[in-house]
Amino acid sequence: MKAIIHVGLKPGVLDPQGRAISRSLNDLGFEEVAAARQGKVIELDLTGDDSTAAKARVTEMCEKLLANTVIESYRVEIED
């Protein structure tokens, strides 16, 4: 199994890197870009085949290490 974890800044938390990205895209002529948010994707290869249990374990990993919940939110997907 694979776990795909998307970690990003919570809404309302200023994202200076996202702001720089959207400005740069505007400069390249992509005027339709109103805002950008930058996050990260973490992929884990997991042993076992119980996807419900895996999701609970990966959520625990997010709370303990992979995300800083003061500023970040996360989303977990489990792929077979």
Binding site: V13, P16, Q17, A20, K64, L65, N68, V70, I71
Partner: protein
């Protein structure tokens, strides 16, 4: 008095911190490697130094805050042990949950490295009591991720309880409410992005940092 400096892989201000502690206490501090599971006995004050622990992987201070020695520090901090984190050490303390908030990428996106004027906003704290009538000090800053963030409720609480110890005179990184240094509710744990340990000798360009070390050591 026995003190200690924790060293993580890629700490780079651990020796500066050790020199500062020896200058103020007259005794060389214990240098404690991050894999140790317990502080040596009798340590009264611990510094988490600046640097780029674990290459700033994942988030600044994230890996270091989960190391064996920091687990021991969290337990001891909750029992009153005095701990200060400067720069990366401040990031480690927030990641470990010993101080509220988080340090984010500087608002200007640039690494900022220069002397920075700070206002002492609580001169009664254990980390500033020896400054007397001095309300303004200059410490160097050197960081890319020093933009202090906390939600409004947390910021209000910090201000109300006198936990904001230093503010930037000219905010270099976008920190909320110009906050440069904070302590926990009990006042024993303190963190700041600027480097007092790099302002303890005339050859550094100033000795404003000495007062901070003298304050905390005298309070113990």
């Amino acid at each position: 008095m026995k003190t200690a400096v924790i060293t993580f892989p890629a700490s780079n201000c651990n020796r500066d911190a050790a020199v500062a502690l020896e200058k103020v206490t007259g005794v060389k501090p214990e240098m404690v490697w991050h894999r140790e599971s317990e502080l040596p006995s009798g340590i009264k004050f611990v510094v988490l130094p600046g640097g780029f622990s674990y290459g700033d992987y994942l988030r600044c201070g994230a890996m270091a805050s989960r190391s064996p020695i920091v687990k021991d520090l969290v337990e001891k901090a909750n029992k009153g042990l005095a701990i200060a984190g400067f720069c990366n050490g401040f990031q480690v303390l927030t990641e470990a949950g010993l101080l509220p908030g988080a340090l984010m990428r500087n608002r200007g996106l640039k690494f900022v490295c220069r002397p920075e004027k700070l206002n002492i906003t609580n001169s009664n704290s254990r980390y500033t009591s020896k400054y007397g009538d001095v309300t303004e000090v200059t410490y160097p800053v050197a960081h890319h991720d020093g933009n202090y963030y906390a939600d409004d409720d947390t910021l209000n609480k910090l201000e109300k309880q006198g936990q904001v110890i230093f503010r930037y005179a000219n905010n270099p990184n976008g920190s909320a409410r110009d906050i440069a240094g904070i302590c926990n509710e009990a006042g024993n744990v303190f963190g700041m992005m600027p480097h007092p340990e790099r302002a303890i000798d005339p050859l550094h360009g100033g000795t404003d940092g000495l007062g901070l070390f003298k304050s905390i050591i005298e309070s113990i």
